[in-house]
Protein backbone atom coordinates (compact mmCIF):
# COMPACT_ATOMS: atom_id res chain seq x y z
CA UNK A 1 0.00 0.00 0.00
CA UNK A 2 1.22 3.49 -0.78
CA UNK A 3 0.83 6.69 1.20
CA UNK A 4 -1.76 7.79 -1.36
CA UNK A 5 -3.79 4.59 -1.01
CA UNK A 6 -3.61 4.92 2.76
CA UNK A 7 -4.83 8.50 2.60
CA UNK A 8 -7.63 7.40 0.27
CA UNK A 9 -8.85 4.91 2.87
CA UNK A 10 -8.74 7.57 5.57
CA UNK A 11 -10.64 9.98 3.32
CA UNK A 12 -13.27 7.31 2.70
CA UNK A 13 -13.63 6.99 6.50
CA UNK A 14 -12.44 3.40 6.45
CA UNK A 15 -10.95 2.57 9.85
CA UNK A 16 -7.35 1.49 10.12
CA UNK A 17 -6.86 -1.73 12.10
CA UNK A 18 -3.76 -3.01 13.94
CA UNK A 19 -2.27 -5.25 11.28
CA UNK A 20 -3.02 -2.92 8.37
CA UNK A 21 -0.16 -1.16 6.71
CA UNK A 22 0.29 2.40 7.94
CA UNK A 23 2.89 5.11 7.47
CA UNK A 24 5.50 5.04 10.23
CA UNK A 25 4.67 8.64 11.10
CA UNK A 26 0.98 7.75 11.56
CA UNK A 27 1.95 4.94 13.91
CA UNK A 28 4.27 7.22 15.87
CA UNK A 29 1.72 10.00 16.14
CA UNK A 30 -0.88 7.56 17.39
CA UNK A 31 1.40 5.98 19.96
CA UNK A 32 2.32 9.43 21.20
CA UNK A 33 -1.25 10.63 21.40
CA UNK A 34 -2.84 7.48 22.83
CA UNK A 35 -0.15 6.88 25.43
CA UNK A 36 -0.28 10.53 26.43
CA UNK A 37 -4.00 10.14 26.83
CA UNK A 38 -3.52 6.96 28.90
CA UNK A 39 -0.94 8.64 31.13
CA UNK A 40 -3.36 11.52 31.67
CA UNK A 41 -6.00 9.12 32.96
CA UNK A 42 -3.55 7.48 35.34
CA UNK A 43 -1.89 10.64 36.63
CA UNK A 44 -5.37 12.15 36.74
CA UNK A 45 -6.30 9.68 39.48
CA UNK A 46 -3.96 11.41 41.90
CA UNK A 47 -5.47 14.86 42.42
CA UNK A 48 -8.90 13.36 43.08
CA UNK A 49 -7.45 10.42 44.99
CA UNK A 50 -6.30 13.02 47.51
CA UNK A 51 -9.86 13.53 48.61
CA UNK A 52 -11.19 9.98 48.90
CA UNK A 53 -10.28 9.83 52.58
CA UNK A 54 -11.79 13.27 53.17
CA UNK A 55 -15.01 12.85 51.21
CA UNK A 56 -17.69 14.43 53.41
CA UNK A 57 -20.29 11.68 53.13
CA UNK A 58 -20.32 7.96 52.45
CA UNK A 59 -22.31 8.55 49.28
CA UNK A 60 -19.71 11.00 47.98
CA UNK A 61 -16.95 8.63 48.97
CA UNK A 62 -18.47 5.79 46.94
CA UNK A 63 -19.03 8.07 43.93
CA UNK A 64 -15.48 9.40 44.07
CA UNK A 65 -14.01 5.91 44.36
CA UNK A 66 -16.05 4.69 41.41
CA UNK A 67 -15.07 7.68 39.32
CA UNK A 68 -11.35 7.39 40.01
CA UNK A 69 -11.57 3.66 39.37
CA UNK A 70 -13.11 4.46 36.00
CA UNK A 71 -10.07 6.57 35.24
CA UNK A 72 -7.85 3.57 35.98
CA UNK A 73 -10.05 1.56 33.63
CA UNK A 74 -9.81 4.21 30.94
CA UNK A 75 -6.05 4.32 31.26
CA UNK A 76 -6.08 0.57 30.85
CA UNK A 77 -8.26 0.64 27.72
CA UNK A 78 -5.99 3.25 26.19
CA UNK A 79 -2.75 1.47 27.01
CA UNK A 80 -4.32 -1.61 25.40
CA UNK A 81 -5.16 0.37 22.27
CA UNK A 82 -1.60 1.67 22.09
CA UNK A 83 -0.21 -1.82 22.62
CA UNK A 84 -1.85 -2.93 19.37
CA UNK A 85 0.61 -0.58 17.67
CA UNK A 86 3.55 -2.59 18.95
CA UNK A 87 4.65 -0.69 22.05
CA UNK A 88 4.36 -2.43 25.42
CA UNK A 89 2.62 -0.86 28.37
CA UNK A 90 5.81 -1.24 30.36
CA UNK A 91 7.80 0.86 27.93
CA UNK A 92 5.08 3.50 27.81
CA UNK A 93 5.19 3.70 31.60
CA UNK A 94 8.96 4.03 31.44
CA UNK A 95 8.55 6.94 29.06
CA UNK A 96 6.18 8.59 31.52
CA UNK A 97 8.56 8.15 34.43
CA UNK A 98 11.59 9.42 32.55
CA UNK A 99 9.66 12.45 31.36
CA UNK A 100 9.88 11.41 27.71
CA UNK A 101 6.10 11.13 27.47
CA UNK A 102 3.74 13.88 28.54
CA UNK A 103 0.34 13.88 30.17
CA UNK A 104 -2.34 16.52 30.42
CA UNK A 105 -0.95 19.51 32.32
CA UNK A 106 -4.18 20.05 34.18
CA UNK A 107 -3.22 17.33 36.64
CA UNK A 108 -0.21 19.34 37.75
CA UNK A 109 -2.57 21.69 39.56
CA UNK A 110 -3.39 20.92 43.20
CA UNK A 111 -6.79 19.99 44.62
CA UNK A 112 -7.10 22.25 47.64
CA UNK A 113 -10.72 22.06 48.71
CA UNK A 114 -13.67 19.71 48.46
CA UNK A 115 -15.12 22.03 45.83
CA UNK A 116 -12.23 21.01 43.61
CA UNK A 117 -13.85 17.58 43.33
CA UNK A 118 -16.74 19.43 41.78
CA UNK A 119 -14.59 21.58 39.52
CA UNK A 120 -12.56 18.65 38.30
CA UNK A 121 -15.69 16.78 37.31
CA UNK A 122 -17.55 19.73 35.88
CA UNK A 123 -14.73 21.59 34.12
CA UNK A 124 -11.84 19.17 33.66
CA UNK A 125 -13.98 16.20 32.69
CA UNK A 126 -16.24 18.54 30.79
CA UNK A 127 -13.30 19.74 28.72
CA UNK A 128 -12.00 16.20 28.33
CA UNK A 129 -15.38 15.00 27.08
CA UNK A 130 -15.37 17.63 24.31
CA UNK A 131 -12.16 16.07 23.09
CA UNK A 132 -13.19 12.50 23.65
CA UNK A 133 -16.52 12.64 21.93
CA UNK A 134 -14.71 13.94 18.86
CA UNK A 135 -12.24 11.07 19.15
CA UNK A 136 -14.92 8.37 18.99
CA UNK A 137 -14.67 8.84 15.22
CA UNK A 138 -10.89 8.84 15.05
CA UNK A 139 -9.39 6.84 12.18
CA UNK A 140 -7.60 4.13 14.19
CA UNK A 141 -10.05 1.35 15.09
CA UNK A 142 -8.81 0.28 18.54
CA UNK A 143 -8.50 3.91 19.64
CA UNK A 144 -11.99 4.76 18.40
CA UNK A 145 -13.47 1.71 20.15
CA UNK A 146 -11.70 2.55 23.41
CA UNK A 147 -13.05 6.09 23.16
CA UNK A 148 -16.61 4.88 22.63
CA UNK A 149 -16.39 2.80 25.78
CA UNK A 150 -14.78 5.64 27.69
CA UNK A 151 -17.36 8.21 26.61
CA UNK A 152 -20.16 5.91 27.67
CA UNK A 153 -18.64 5.51 31.11
CA UNK A 154 -17.58 9.13 31.49
CA UNK A 155 -21.04 10.51 31.13
CA UNK A 156 -21.58 10.34 34.87
CA UNK A 157 -18.28 12.03 35.71
CA UNK A 158 -19.19 15.50 34.64
CA UNK A 159 -22.68 15.23 36.07
CA UNK A 160 -21.46 14.19 39.51
CA UNK A 161 -18.99 17.09 39.48
CA UNK A 162 -21.72 19.55 38.62
CA UNK A 163 -23.85 18.07 41.37
CA UNK A 164 -21.06 18.60 43.92
CA UNK A 165 -20.76 22.27 42.90
CA UNK A 166 -24.52 22.72 42.79
CA UNK A 167 -24.90 21.31 46.31
CA UNK A 168 -22.27 23.76 47.53
CA UNK A 169 -23.95 26.68 45.77
CA UNK A 170 -27.25 25.84 47.42
CA UNK A 171 -25.60 25.46 50.82
CA UNK A 172 -24.17 27.97 53.27
CA UNK A 173 -22.33 31.15 52.30
CA UNK A 174 -19.06 29.45 53.20
CA UNK A 175 -19.86 26.56 50.86
CA UNK A 176 -20.76 28.85 48.00
CA UNK A 177 -17.54 30.75 48.57
CA UNK A 178 -15.70 27.44 48.40
CA UNK A 179 -17.29 26.76 45.01
CA UNK A 180 -16.44 30.21 43.61
CA UNK A 181 -12.86 30.06 44.84
CA UNK A 182 -12.46 26.69 43.18
CA UNK A 183 -13.90 27.90 39.88
CA UNK A 184 -11.49 30.84 40.01
CA UNK A 185 -8.54 28.47 40.17
CA UNK A 186 -9.73 25.89 37.62
CA UNK A 187 -11.26 27.98 34.85
CA UNK A 188 -8.10 29.01 33.04
CA UNK A 189 -6.24 25.71 33.39
CA UNK A 190 -9.36 23.99 32.03
CA UNK A 191 -9.26 26.21 28.93
CA UNK A 192 -5.60 25.35 28.48
CA UNK A 193 -6.51 21.67 28.30
CA UNK A 194 -7.43 22.09 24.64
CA UNK A 195 -3.82 22.86 23.83
CA UNK A 196 -2.14 25.81 22.14
CA UNK A 197 -3.92 28.15 19.77
CA UNK A 198 -4.38 26.65 16.31
CA UNK A 199 -1.68 28.83 14.77
CA UNK A 200 0.77 27.54 17.40
CA UNK A 201 -0.17 23.89 17.13
CA UNK A 202 2.24 22.39 14.62
CA UNK A 203 0.86 18.85 14.72
CA UNK A 204 -2.77 19.70 14.18
CA UNK A 205 -2.79 19.86 10.39
CA UNK A 206 -1.31 16.41 9.81
CA UNK A 207 -3.40 14.88 12.62
CA UNK A 208 -6.55 16.34 11.03
CA UNK A 209 -5.55 15.02 7.64
CA UNK A 210 -5.14 11.53 9.10
CA UNK A 211 -8.39 11.99 10.99
CA UNK A 212 -6.66 11.19 14.24
CA UNK A 213 -7.96 14.56 15.34
CA UNK A 214 -11.35 15.67 14.08
CA UNK A 215 -11.55 19.27 15.35
CA UNK A 216 -8.95 21.92 16.06
CA UNK A 217 -7.97 23.05 19.54
CA UNK A 218 -9.67 26.41 19.19
CA UNK A 219 -12.89 24.90 17.85
CA UNK A 220 -13.19 22.60 20.84
CA UNK A 221 -12.23 25.34 23.29
CA UNK A 222 -14.94 27.62 21.92
CA UNK A 223 -17.46 24.82 22.15
CA UNK A 224 -16.52 24.25 25.79
CA UNK A 225 -16.83 27.92 26.70
CA UNK A 226 -20.20 28.19 25.01
CA UNK A 227 -21.49 25.16 26.88
CA UNK A 228 -20.07 26.07 30.28
CA UNK A 229 -20.93 29.74 30.69
CA UNK A 230 -24.70 29.14 31.04
CA UNK A 231 -24.01 26.31 33.50
CA UNK A 232 -22.05 28.72 35.71
CA UNK A 233 -24.75 31.39 35.40
CA UNK A 234 -27.37 28.89 36.49
CA UNK A 235 -25.44 28.36 39.72
CA UNK A 236 -24.88 32.08 40.27
CA UNK A 237 -21.12 31.66 39.93
CA UNK A 238 -18.89 34.18 38.19
CA UNK A 239 -16.43 33.02 35.58
CA UNK A 240 -13.14 34.75 36.33
CA UNK A 241 -12.78 36.45 32.94
CA UNK A 242 -13.73 40.14 32.74
CA UNK A 243 -13.60 40.00 28.92
CA UNK A 244 -16.13 37.23 28.65
CA UNK A 245 -19.24 38.31 26.76
CA UNK A 246 -21.75 37.02 24.26
CA UNK A 247 -21.05 38.00 20.67
CA UNK A 248 -24.35 38.20 18.88
CA UNK A 249 -22.75 38.33 15.46
CA UNK A 250 -20.55 35.25 15.93
CA UNK A 251 -23.18 33.46 18.05
CA UNK A 252 -20.35 32.56 20.41
CA UNK A 253 -18.83 33.92 23.59
CA UNK A 254 -15.77 36.12 23.23
CA UNK A 255 -13.24 35.52 25.95
CA UNK A 256 -10.02 36.97 27.35
CA UNK A 257 -6.47 35.94 26.67
CA UNK A 258 -5.07 32.75 28.08
CA UNK A 259 -1.79 33.05 29.93
CA UNK A 260 0.27 30.93 27.54
CA UNK A 261 3.45 31.58 29.47
CA UNK A 262 1.93 29.65 32.38
CA UNK A 263 0.78 26.91 30.00
CA UNK A 264 4.26 26.35 28.61
CA UNK A 265 5.89 26.56 32.04
CA UNK A 266 3.59 23.86 33.43
CA UNK A 267 4.33 21.63 30.43
CA UNK A 268 8.02 22.23 30.98
CA UNK A 269 7.69 20.79 34.47
CA UNK A 270 7.19 23.96 36.49
CA UNK A 271 3.58 23.49 37.54
CA UNK A 272 2.73 23.31 41.23
CA UNK A 273 2.57 19.50 41.34
CA UNK A 274 4.61 18.09 38.42
CA UNK A 275 7.27 16.61 40.67
CA UNK A 276 4.85 15.22 43.23
CA UNK A 277 2.65 13.57 40.58
CA UNK A 278 5.49 11.79 38.84
CA UNK A 279 7.06 10.80 42.14
CA UNK A 280 3.77 9.21 43.26
CA UNK A 281 3.50 7.22 40.02
CA UNK A 282 7.13 6.14 40.17
CA UNK A 283 6.74 5.07 43.80
CA UNK A 284 3.66 2.95 43.12
CA UNK A 285 5.42 1.30 40.20
CA UNK A 286 8.64 0.62 42.12
CA UNK A 287 6.84 -0.69 45.17
CA UNK A 288 4.77 -2.97 42.95
CA UNK A 289 7.82 -4.53 41.33
CA UNK A 290 8.21 -7.40 43.81
CA UNK A 291 4.47 -8.08 43.62
CA UNK A 292 4.44 -8.37 39.83
CA UNK A 293 7.56 -10.52 40.03
CA UNK A 294 6.02 -12.84 42.63
CA UNK A 295 2.89 -13.37 40.54
CA UNK A 296 4.99 -14.34 37.52
CA UNK A 297 7.19 -16.64 39.58
CA UNK A 298 4.13 -18.36 40.99
CA UNK A 299 2.57 -18.69 37.55
CA UNK A 300 5.75 -20.33 36.20
CA UNK A 301 5.83 -22.76 39.12
CA UNK A 302 2.21 -23.68 38.51
CA UNK A 303 2.91 -24.26 34.84
CA UNK A 304 5.78 -26.60 35.75
CA UNK A 305 3.60 -28.51 38.21
CA UNK A 306 0.83 -28.90 35.67
CA UNK A 307 3.31 -30.28 33.15
CA UNK A 308 4.58 -32.81 35.66
CA UNK A 309 1.06 -33.96 36.40
CA UNK A 310 0.34 -34.30 32.68
Amino acid sequence: MTQAQFQARIDADIKIEPKDWMPEAYRKTLIRQISQHAHSEIVGMLPEGNWITRAPSLRRKAILLAKIQDEAGHGLYLYSAAETLGKTRESMIDDLHTGKAKYSSIFNYPTLSWADMGSVGWLVDGAAIMNQVALCRTSYGPYARAMVRICKEESFHQRQGYEVIMTLCRGTAAQKQMAQESLNRWWWPALMMFGPKDEDSPNTEQAMKWRIKRFTNDELRQRFIDATVPQAEFLGLTIPDPDLKWNEERQHYDSGNINWEEFYQVIAGNGPCNTARLAARQKAHDEGEWVREAAMAYSKKQEQRNKQVA
Binding site: Q69, Y77, S80, R145, E293, Q302
Partner: protein
Protein backbone atom coordinates in the same frame (compact mmCIF):
# COMPACT_ATOMS: atom_id res chain seq x y z
CA UNK B 1 10.55 -10.77 32.45
CA UNK B 2 8.36 -9.60 35.33
CA UNK B 3 5.89 -8.17 32.88
CA UNK B 4 2.57 -9.95 32.93
CA UNK B 5 1.48 -11.27 29.54
CA UNK B 6 -1.31 -9.67 27.55
CA UNK B 7 -4.74 -11.37 27.34
CA UNK B 8 -7.65 -10.74 25.01
CA UNK B 9 -10.99 -10.62 26.76
CA UNK B 10 -14.31 -11.79 25.34
CA UNK B 11 -17.56 -11.22 27.17
CA UNK B 12 -21.06 -12.62 26.80
CA UNK B 13 -23.27 -9.70 27.71
CA UNK B 14 -26.29 -11.87 28.40
CA UNK B 15 -27.41 -15.46 28.04
CA UNK B 16 -28.08 -16.39 24.44
CA UNK B 17 -25.57 -14.01 22.89
CA UNK B 18 -22.08 -14.68 21.53
CA UNK B 19 -18.97 -13.76 23.44
CA UNK B 20 -17.66 -10.53 21.98
CA UNK B 21 -14.16 -9.09 22.07
CA UNK B 22 -14.09 -6.15 24.50
CA UNK B 23 -10.40 -5.38 24.87
CA UNK B 24 -7.29 -6.67 26.55
CA UNK B 25 -5.46 -6.56 29.87
CA UNK B 26 -2.42 -7.95 31.65
CA UNK B 27 -2.44 -10.89 34.05
CA UNK B 28 0.08 -13.38 35.39
CA UNK B 29 -2.07 -16.41 34.62
CA UNK B 30 -5.43 -17.46 33.16
CA UNK B 31 -7.25 -17.45 36.48
CA UNK B 32 -6.09 -13.93 37.19
CA UNK B 33 -6.95 -12.86 33.66
CA UNK B 34 -10.56 -13.86 34.21
CA UNK B 35 -10.72 -12.10 37.55
CA UNK B 36 -9.07 -8.98 36.19
CA UNK B 37 -11.55 -9.03 33.34
CA UNK B 38 -14.36 -9.24 35.87
CA UNK B 39 -12.95 -6.24 37.72
CA UNK B 40 -12.08 -4.21 34.63
CA UNK B 41 -14.72 -5.02 32.04
CA UNK B 42 -17.87 -5.86 33.99
CA UNK B 43 -18.06 -2.93 36.41
CA UNK B 44 -21.44 -1.96 34.97
CA UNK B 45 -23.03 -5.37 34.60
CA UNK B 46 -21.74 -5.76 31.07
CA UNK B 47 -21.40 -9.51 31.27
CA UNK B 48 -22.45 -12.94 32.47
CA UNK B 49 -19.53 -14.95 31.10
CA UNK B 50 -15.87 -14.25 30.37
CA UNK B 51 -13.31 -15.82 28.04
CA UNK B 52 -9.64 -14.95 28.34
CA UNK B 53 -7.17 -15.89 25.62
CA UNK B 54 -3.49 -15.13 25.85
CA UNK B 55 -2.84 -12.68 23.01
CA UNK B 56 0.08 -14.68 21.64
CA UNK B 57 -2.37 -17.52 20.96
CA UNK B 58 -4.49 -15.44 18.60
CA UNK B 59 -3.69 -16.11 14.96
CA UNK B 60 -4.93 -13.46 12.58
CA UNK B 61 -5.46 -13.37 8.85
CA UNK B 62 -3.17 -11.10 6.90
CA UNK B 63 -4.82 -7.85 5.82
CA UNK B 64 -2.61 -7.78 2.71
CA UNK B 65 -4.42 -10.88 1.50
CA UNK B 66 -7.83 -9.33 1.93
CA UNK B 67 -8.35 -9.24 -1.83
CA UNK B 68 -7.88 -12.96 -2.31
CA UNK B 69 -9.61 -13.91 0.93
CA UNK B 70 -12.75 -11.84 0.82
CA UNK B 71 -13.26 -10.43 -2.67
CA UNK B 72 -14.19 -13.77 -4.30
CA UNK B 73 -17.41 -14.03 -2.30
CA UNK B 74 -18.46 -10.65 -3.62
CA UNK B 75 -19.81 -11.98 -6.95
CA UNK B 76 -21.92 -14.81 -5.57
CA UNK B 77 -25.21 -13.11 -4.84
CA UNK B 78 -27.03 -16.44 -5.32
CA UNK B 79 -26.02 -17.26 -1.73
CA UNK B 80 -28.47 -14.65 -0.50
CA UNK B 81 -32.24 -15.19 -0.31
CA UNK B 82 -32.99 -11.87 -2.02
CA UNK B 83 -31.43 -13.25 -5.22
CA UNK B 84 -34.57 -15.29 -5.93
CA UNK B 85 -37.94 -14.04 -7.15
CA UNK B 86 -40.87 -15.82 -5.54
CA UNK B 87 -44.43 -14.82 -6.54
CA UNK B 88 -46.26 -12.67 -4.01
CA UNK B 89 -49.09 -15.20 -3.75
CA UNK B 90 -46.72 -17.71 -2.20
CA UNK B 91 -46.22 -15.43 0.77
CA UNK B 92 -43.30 -15.63 3.14
CA UNK B 93 -40.69 -18.27 2.33
Amino acid sequence: MNNWPLWEIFIRSRQGLDHKHVGSLHAADAQMAIENARDVYTRRMEGVSIWAVESTNIHASNPDEADSLYEPSNDKPYRHPTFYDIPKEIGHM
